[in-house]
């Protein structure tokens, strides 16, 4: 089984020397199919310098990698085929100087026949069966990606014409045949003699979905499938049923693709033709008037083919070239939307598998339309092509044209715009015999690294992330932004108004009332009292003054004297009269000068009685500063009639300092506490104190005071020292209640 070649269509195993499949007659070489023209060798090495830097780097990288050997081997086996496009020159160059390797996908893109594998090349086992178009199955790391891709992407494109050549339309055809069950694949409609697609692939090697599609295709084999020619393309104005059944894919088994050329000629009838409901939109639009809008092939074919002669074009392109001075793919350009999807598929089908998988489905080719518009602002923008993976080649009828083309990836839509730009730049390119970087195909432009492209603002306009570093650097939208990582437009606006209900409002009102009550001034309730008004004061003063003056001036006694004598007065008189004649008596004076009138009036009767009856030797001592002078005033004033003389019959010891302590000291040792009289003489040697050395040696203690505290101090501090010596207190009226009893 090694060295067996697997048919990309029917998966039948074929000997390596076979160029076509024994079962389905599908070319096994994987070479591009060129309609109507044999490939012509052309040296395009001169295009090498104008290649983009990134492409040259990619080639270098491929050469250095393991694939380089594979490429080298294949390139050695393949002759340099002339190509009308840009990448064809690469292959040619590679074949000419053997310095650089061109991968097959690049060679296939050109539409030139790929170099045939050498017959004597060592064959591999069945697991290493070479894939017709993309080389060996494990040449590239696309095995896993292939599983996700439909067969038309991963398989070998069937060659309609030359079995040894490969055309970019093959993918497109293959897509058409695999993507729809309502439209019969042209290969399925091939006559039994040579249609490779009519034979179903073996069930073992065909994916399930492909099997299902194949079964459905068989069930729905339309009459058009039985047609062996592609005249349906030449009759676009036929009823929709015919268009639906045949369509562009009702390609006859004949190798001629003249139906494509007829499309242009019959564009007007096509516009009248109503597409069948089952036909895809792009097929429906086949009959539409030719649009000048760009098609994906316009950007790739014309510019790349400009430097070459029209003779280098394939026949199918040459026919178009002869009809139109523009590039060879104008036929597709004129087909409008019908060509869009096909061209998009072609553009993608030209890519190698590894590049397909490397290219993000909706990112790297999602070049924003704005970026394209910069290149050709005057051209109307083509409808957006549907995404490659999500949109099948044949969509349901329920999908409208708008949905179809709006879902197309940007890179496809850009590709539709490219022809105009390329057309605009076709002439300069032809003059200079070189390709300018700005006329590169859109898909190539999309593959350019970011740093060489327009700074990411344009590509980021689509809201997709442009990878800046790592293995995915330069790719856009490869990693979809997840939830929470995508930038939000602007923060959500929240209202600053508080939503409260009625109950909360009531509570808030109560709370406000409480707070207001706390800070509200509170009226003080003041009881009206009889104040000391000026009138009342004047009235009282007048009454008192008048009463006093009347009494003094009239010397009349309005009130009778109290009858009897209070017991206290009797006790005092008795105590005074009990002392011996000419006995020493101690008189303590402690009242304020303001009370002198009262105190003198109260003490004068007692002192008169005492002096008259007992003629005591009186010793005066004061416990306040003014007491000594008040004593002199009292003796000299009130008691002046008694003719007492200082130092002879009475003695003034003066001020006794220290309060209670002084009183206690005087009670304990009178001679030490008050050694001198008021005149500074030794008091204890004078006649009034003769024979007296202690407090208890006085016959009587008289206390004249207006202060209850002073009376209490004298009573308390002399309690122990005085003994049985009676103490008589003459007090003021205000202190009497506090001193009694």
């Amino acid at each position: 089984m090694a060295d067996m070649i697997k048919c990309p269509l029917c998966a039948a195993m074929n000997p390596p020397e076979n160029k076509i499949c024994l079962r389905c007659q599908t070319p096994l070489s994987g070479e591009s199919f060129q309609t109507g023209q044999a490939p012509v060798r052309k040296d395009t090495g001169e295009l090498e310098p104008i290649l983009p830097e990134w492409l040259r780097d990619a080639r270098e990288t491929a050469k250095q990698s393991g694939m380089g050997e594979r490429f080298q081997r294949e390139e050695n086996a393949q002759p340099a085929a002339p190509s009308a496009d840009l990448l064809a020159g690469l292959q040619s160059q590679a074949g000419s100087d053997d310095e650089e390797d061109i991968p097959d996908w690049l060679a296939n893109i050109t539409g030139k026949p790929a170099p045939k594998p050498k017959a004597d090349e060592p064959k591999e086992d069945f697991s290493n069966v070479r894939w017709v178009e993309t080389g060996r199955k494990d040449d590239f790391e696309q095995e896993q990606a292939e599983g996700d891709l439909p067969a038309w992407m991963t398989g070998t494109p069937p060659s309609v014409g030359d079995a040894g050549e490969k055309d970019e339309l093959t993918d497109w055809f293959r897509e058409s045949g695999a993507g729809s069950d309502s439209i019969q694949s042209p290969f399925q409609s091939m006559p039994d003699s040579g249609s490779a697609f009519s034979a179903a692939p073996s069930s073992e090697e065909t994916p399930d979905w492909l099997k299902q599609m194949d079964a459905e295709a068989k069930k729905g084999s339309q009459p058009a499938a039985e047609e062996s020619s592609m005249d349906w393309l030449n009759q676009p104005s036929e009823p929709a049923t015919d268009a639906q059944s045949a369509g562009p894919f009702g390609m006859p088994a004949s190798d001629d693709l003249d139906w494509l050329t007829q499309l242009k000629a019959d564009s007007t009838p096509q516009a009248d033709a109503s597409p069948a409901p089952d036909s895809p939109n792009w097929l429906k639009d086949l009959g539409a008037p030719p649009s000048v809008e760009s098609t994906p092939f316009v950007e790739s074919a014309p510019a790349e083919s400009e430097p070459f002669d029209s003779a280098d074009f394939p026949s199918w392109l040459a026919d178009e070239t002869s009809k139109k001075s523009d590039s060879a793919s104008i036929w597709l350009e004129e087909k409008g939307e019908a060509s869009v999807s096909a061209s998009a598929d072609d553009a993608f089908g030209d890519l190698p598998d590894w590049l397909k998988s490397a290219a993000p489905q909706s990112s790297i080719f999602d070049e924003p339309a704005a970026a394209v518009e910069v290149q050709k602002p005057e051209e109307p923008q083509a409808p957006v092509n549907p995404p490659f993976e999500t949109t099948p080649a044949f969509v349901d009828d329920s999908l409208s044209d708008e949905s179809l083309f709006t879902d197309m990836p940007d890179w496809l839509s850009n590709a539709t715009d490219a022809p105009v730009a390329s057309s605009a730049s076709a002439e300069p390119a032809a003059d200079s015999d070189a390709l300018a970087p700005n006329i590169l195909p859109s898909w190539v432009e999309a593959m350019r690294p970011v740093d060489q492209a327009v700074p990411g603002a344009a590509s980021l306009a689509g809201g997709q992330t442009l990878e800046q570093s790592g293995a995915l650097a330069g790719l856009q939208g490869v990693l979809p932004a997840g939830m929470g990582f995508a930038p939000t437009s602007k923060p959500k606006a929240y209202s600053n108004k508080l939503n409260v209900n009625e109950e909360q409002l009531k509570h808030a009102e109560i709370f406000e009332q409480i707070l207001a009550a706390e800070t509200a001034p509170e009226m003080l309730i003041v009881e009206k009292t009889l104040g000391a008004s000026r009138g009342l004061r004047w009235t009282i003063a007048a009454l008192l003054v008048i009463a006093t003056l009347a009494t003094l001036l009239s010397r009349a006694q309005f009130l009778s004297a109290p009858v009897g004598v209070p017991k206290e007065l009797g006790y005092a008189v008795a105590a005074v009269q009990a002392i011996p004649e000419n006995a020493p008596a101690l008189v303590a004076v402690d009242y304020e000068p303001a009370r002198a009138g009262e105190m003198e009036a109260a003490a004068a009767p007692l002192f008169d009685n005492l002096m008259l009856l007992k003629h005591p030797r009186m010793t005066f001592v004061a416990t306040n500063e003014s007491g000594a002078i008040l004593v002199e005033r009292f003796i000299a004033g009130t008691l002046a009639e008694r003719n007492y003389q200082s130092g002879v019959t009475y003695l003034n010891l003066g001020y006794l300092a220290g309060g209670q302590v002084g009183i206690r000291a005087f009670a304990q040792n009178p001679q030490f506490a008050a050694p001198l009289d008021i005149s500074g003489f030794d008091a204890w040697g004078l006649p009034p104190l003769e024979g007296v050395t202690a407090l208890n040696q006085f016959a009587l203690i008289l206390l004249v005071t207006d202060d209850a505290e002073a009376a209490r101090a004298w009573v308390e501090q002399t309690q122990d020292a005085r003994g049985v010596v009676p103490i008589v207190v003459v007090s003021s009226a205000q202190a009497a209640p506090m001193i009694q009893p």
Partner: protein, 234 residues
């Protein structure tokens, strides 16, 4: 015939008395002048008395005598007053004011001790004895007081003393509703004590009023006498 100086002194006393009585029309400058004059004169007189009757005879003169005689052994007792005097003067400086606390502590301590001892021996015990003596028939007979009178006086005095003390008893028990109230008996005694206290304060106020009225009569009498004396001159 008034002596000249007596005439001047009597005239000043007359006008100063009128200035004090001018308080009837409210606070006025004449009243203030008289008050300030009295306060100043009283303070000056007190300072002179303290110096001439206390400091000089009891501190400076003995010290001077000792210094003159050279008998320092007698001056040992003078060290304490001089130290107290020096410490008190330290209050002039805030930084050294703490030293004055020694003297102040000594004065306050001695004064408190003297007061407590004097109150105990001179007021509390004699008052208790006096209250008890009213129930002593012998004591009453010795003082010619009848038994019924003595018993009645003693009962009133005892009731007044107990009731007045009960008024100042603030002990209470908390009730179940959280309020506090004194015992019923204590509350009753307190109410009686409040009556006794009211009567006592009324008597004190009457005595104050009587003393003030006496001073007024004395001053008015002085004014009348002064005027009459002046009129007698002319």
């Amino acid at each position: 015939m008034f002596p000249f100086f007596d005439l001047i002194a009597g005239t000043l006393a007359f006008f100063l008395t009128l200035m004090i009585l001018s308080y009837l029309i409210g606070d006025n400058p004449l009243f203030k002048i008289a008050v300030y004059l009295f306060v100043g004169v009283a303070s000056g007189y007190a300072a002179a008395v303290v110096f001439w009757q206390v400091l000089y005879p009891k501190l400076f003169q003995p010290t001077a005598v000792i210094l003159q005689s050279g008998d320092y052994a007698r001056g040992g007792l003078l060290v304490a007053p001089w130290l107290g005097f020096a410490f008190i003067l330290m209050k002039i400086s805030p930084r050294l004011a703490g030293i004055a606390r020694i003297t102040m502590a000594f004065l306050v301590g001695v004064g408190a001790a003297v007061t407590v001892a004097g109150a105990l021996t001179g007021t509390i015990l004699p008052q208790a004895n006096a209250t008890i003596n009213f129930f002593d028939q012998d004591y009453a007979a010795a003082r010619n007081i009848g038994a019924f009178e003595a018993l009645g006086n003693g009962a009133i005095l005892l009731a007044g003393a107990v009731a007045s003390l009960a008024y100042f008893h603030f002990g209470a028990r908390q009730k179940t509703d959280g309020s506090t109230r004194r015992f019923g008996s204590v509350e009753l005694l307190a109410w009686v004590g409040r009556v006794f206290i009211g009567v006592t304060l009324g008597a004190i106020f009457a005595g104050v009023y009587a003393a003030a009225l006496t001073a007024l009569i004395e001053r008015v009498s002085y004014l009348v006498n002064f005027v009459q004396s002046l009129l007698a001159l002319f």
